[in-house]
Symmetry: C2
Subunit: 194 residues, 2 copies
């Protein structure tokens, strides 16, 4: 099982955000949608061993978590608009402190980075980190924390400061592209490719 | 310079396709938009040394090429809807047999795979191909031909049969994700990373 947690610093927590304006009124929900697609889609199917959690920190109720669990997702298409419609569906149900099901493979609850960070052994990406290609299968993290298009805030940096850090290459890429690289690395290790 | 050529087997060649239905009436224009984003976007900028050509084969006038040239693109955002609006803009101008400029870094012409394939030394992706990680910088192809969500047709296969073949890993991934992996490989070679 591989897990991703992505912070959407401006991502709307109002289910009424318009599907026609994911970058603006959605608060970069386009990027969040692509992150989910990168985590879950193979060419002809869903990665059933992968979970993608999104921490939405936009208005009006920052601190909402949406979970996409590949083991049970149904009918998801990879286009931004379709994925964002799942997020809207999850935002539309009331959320408490524990996960509530909004559909097959789709869950939501309230929470903070401080809550989430203790639940798994997260690693983060950092240019100065260990090159992920040098990591053996048994040392490969199974949970990765990423930020959206913004850097971690000062508060977030204090939470993630001591987490293991990995680098993906010489170019700094979008979060959705970073996830593609991480999963390729894990796929290769598990299948005995170099 | 790295070039990608992606075949959009059903991608609309009518500039009036709706931005609200890229997968359906756009003929999987969502996927085409993501392929362009993968080819051109870094975290904070555009890959100025990369070109992404799309061969649109959907109705009503199959055989239209749209070129996104990173060296001159302006104001492109990575969301599907924005990129698709550039494709609409390029489709809206009349096209002949040579490239015509539709905007900064945006060009269009008519053409077939047979025309395009002779213009660069293309490589293709194939599970049975050489693992791209084993390829030295000097042997790395600088032009890649990919298909959308469909396999190459029989006619296309006859055109690409003798091209060099490379594999990216044990999992077959979407074309946009494949491009992320190829560019990471090239970035690493050029920067002396393993």
């Amino acid at each position: 099982m591989t897990s991703f947690l992505v912070i959407g610093h401006t991502a709307s927590t109002d289910a009424s955000f318009p599907l026609d304006d994911l970058p603006g009124m959605g608060g970069r929900m386009d990027l969040i949608s692509r992150v989910i697609a990168s985590s879950l889609f193979l060419s002809h199917g869903i990665r059933t061993d992968t979970i993608c959690d999104i921490l939405l920190l936009g208005p009006p109720h920052p601190g909402r978590i949406i979970r996409f669990d590949g083991s049970d997702l149904k009918s998801l298409s990879p286009d931004e608009r379709n994925i964002a419609s799942y997020i809207k569906k999850a935002l539309a149900i009331p959320a408490g402190r524990t996960y509530r099901k909004a559909g097959p493979g789709l869950f939501t609850r309230k929470g903070t980075l401080g809550d989430l960070i203790t639940e798994k052994n997260y690693a983060v990406l950092d240019e100065s980190g260990t090159d992920i290609r040098t990591v053996a299968l048994e040392d490969m993290p199974d949970a990765f924390l990423l930020s959206d298009n913004r850097n971690f805030t000062e508060d977030e940096r204090s939470v993630v400061r001591d987490l293991p850090k990995y680098a993906l290459g010489p170019s700094i890429v979008h979060a959705d592209h970073a996830i593609v690289l991480i999963l390729n690395e894990i796929d290769r290790r598990r299948s005995g490719w170099i």
